[in-house]
Symmetry: C2
Subunit: 314 residues, 2 copies
């Protein structure tokens, strides 16, 4: 399997990306992964040598342009056709790589995912998900976390399917419980969107819907897949991240708080597009890169895209 | 000033309510507050004697019925006209008391507030707010936290005014900075509601709008008043509460986490109705009751309702 990695994306690129590859190879020595590395060839080659990453496992694809973290996504992708993100998506689209990972400009990654490889047929709106730690040591999926700020009930219903498939095949949860994020437990509670979504989830035979979950349940093991529109999901995700940042800054140490470290989960998968795309946090370091590679490998290996495709054509 | 207290509301009523009054009298010995206590007379009288609360400061208003925590609000208020909540609102409406506090059925309190004392003229939608601790030791206001799950931009614009007046007169923040809860910092970000609300807040000369705030900023001192619709606000509030509950259960101790204890802030004020109404958490204990009384006294003393009235007729 060929995994594409944007070597220029993120605040600590390309150094931490290279270290992440090294870390992955140490942890998964038997992995058949080959790495296609997009970016400025000379410095990347030097780094690979320094990190002792054998050339037999890597191909550097020279892409001298960089899309900055604050550039306008559509404009940058159109103008910088030799940027690491643009070249990466070209390769993904034509099959040169099987998955694409970047910790660079999130907007450009989303635009690239939507327009170069497109949505799986039947998926109305691709979505981005995050892994959320639970207080009992388990993990769950929260989606959408920001790609779709305004949603229709049918979108949330599809997110429930996509999240369930991700939870089953990537997190290894055999029958993921789906909860609808809401302001109360009872059916009939919520805003118009939640009220209209509830019956769709209830009738959806592709998922195991267990009812509403509230803000207080997000960190509890009440559901494995928590579904919401991207506005609330984004606020929840960023608030969870801030709890980690604040407690770390204050030196409050505990295993539970440590599990909020996003690096453990790698990045944010884009679900519902035809190939695996993973977007990393701008401040990703080697552990995050290593885990993004591991998730991408798992997405390829488990044939998650085929399963999603089958679910949406059933 | 006459403060009305539902003695039957909450999981630990009436004992903790009585203890809360005692605590308040100890902390504010010079307070001119008189207490009107709604509930079952005999046990309340016994409790007051036990807690050494002088009859000169209290009037028990016999209300033998209790609205349970899970009863349907409208139905319960209509059928149980001799319940502590119903009798409390009757007294509030006719001026027998100047403020009403309950840790009982939230829905019944909201329905009571909306229909017995009504909204201030010009206020399209009353709102409920919460005090949110900031990582630097300060506090801010978040609203709406659940009364209005679906909102229009003009509602959020009014919440900004109501929250600013509460921050100024009750929290003592001289020029409260208003932030719009959103998924990004820049103007133009967000769902349709946030996008349409931004220009209204920007042009509103009654507030000091400082732009968008994200989920990661809710616990930072980036804005004093954070405005959102009640769906997201409710999720954020309950998630913050759960961080406190989880860390306490895991015995993770730190001053920062301790400040998430809702008891310090008393309860949730209903803003935009004609008289002070405060709704307590169902698990309120004496400290929460004491602080709800203190906030109610401050709302009366500062003539917050007159200020709000003036703002909405300006």
């Amino acid at each position: 399997m060929n995994i594409g990695l944007d070597m220029m994306g993120g605040d600590f690129a390309p150094l931490e990306a290279a270290k992440g590859i090294r870390l992955f190879m140490d942890e998964y020595p038997a992995s058949p992964c080959r790495f296609f590395l997009f970016g400025d060839e000379a410095p990347i080659a030097a780094l690979l040598e320094k990190e002792n990453i054998p050339p037999s496992h890597t191909t550097i694809v020279h892409a001298p342009q960089v899309i900055g973290m604050h550039e306008h996504p559509t404009k940058a992708l159109k103008e910088k056709t030799n940027s690491s993100i643009a070249v990466g998506f070209q390769q993904l689209a034509k099959g040169g790589i099987d998955a694409f990972i970047s910790a660079g400009n999130t907007g450009a990654m989303l635009v690239g995912a939507m327009f170069s490889i497109k949505a799986i047929e039947g998926v109305l709106r691709p979505t981005i998900a995050t892994v959320m730690p639970k207080e009992n040591g388990k993990t769950g999926v929260l989606l959408d976390v920001g790609l779709n700020a305004d949603c229709k009930p049918e979108n949330l219903n599809q997110f429930a399917i996509l999240g369930s498939l991700y939870a089953r095949h990537i997190l290894g949860i055999s029958q993921p419980r789906v909860g609808l994020l809401n302001v109360g437990e009872e059916e009939g509670k919520g805003n118009l969107l939640a009220q209209a979504t509830y019956p769709l989830l209830k009738e959806n035979t592709q998922i195991h819907f267990t009812g509403n979950v509230e803000g207080r349940d997000v960190l509890l093991d009440k559901a494995d897949v928590v579904v919401c529109e991207g506005f609330t999901g984004n606020v929840v995700l960023k608030m969870a991240e801030s709890v980690y940042d604040i407690t770390r800054a204050k030196n409050i140490q505990h295993e539970f708080l440590e599990r909020f470290n996003f690096e453990y989960y790698g990045g944010t998968p884009v679900l519902g597009v035809s190939k695996p795309v993973i977007i990393g946090h701008g401040i990703s370091r080697q552990t995050a890169f290593k885990n993004m590679i591991a998730v991408a490998a798992k997405m390829i290996d488990s044939k998650l895209m085929d399963t999603i495709r089958a679910s949406f054509t059933a």
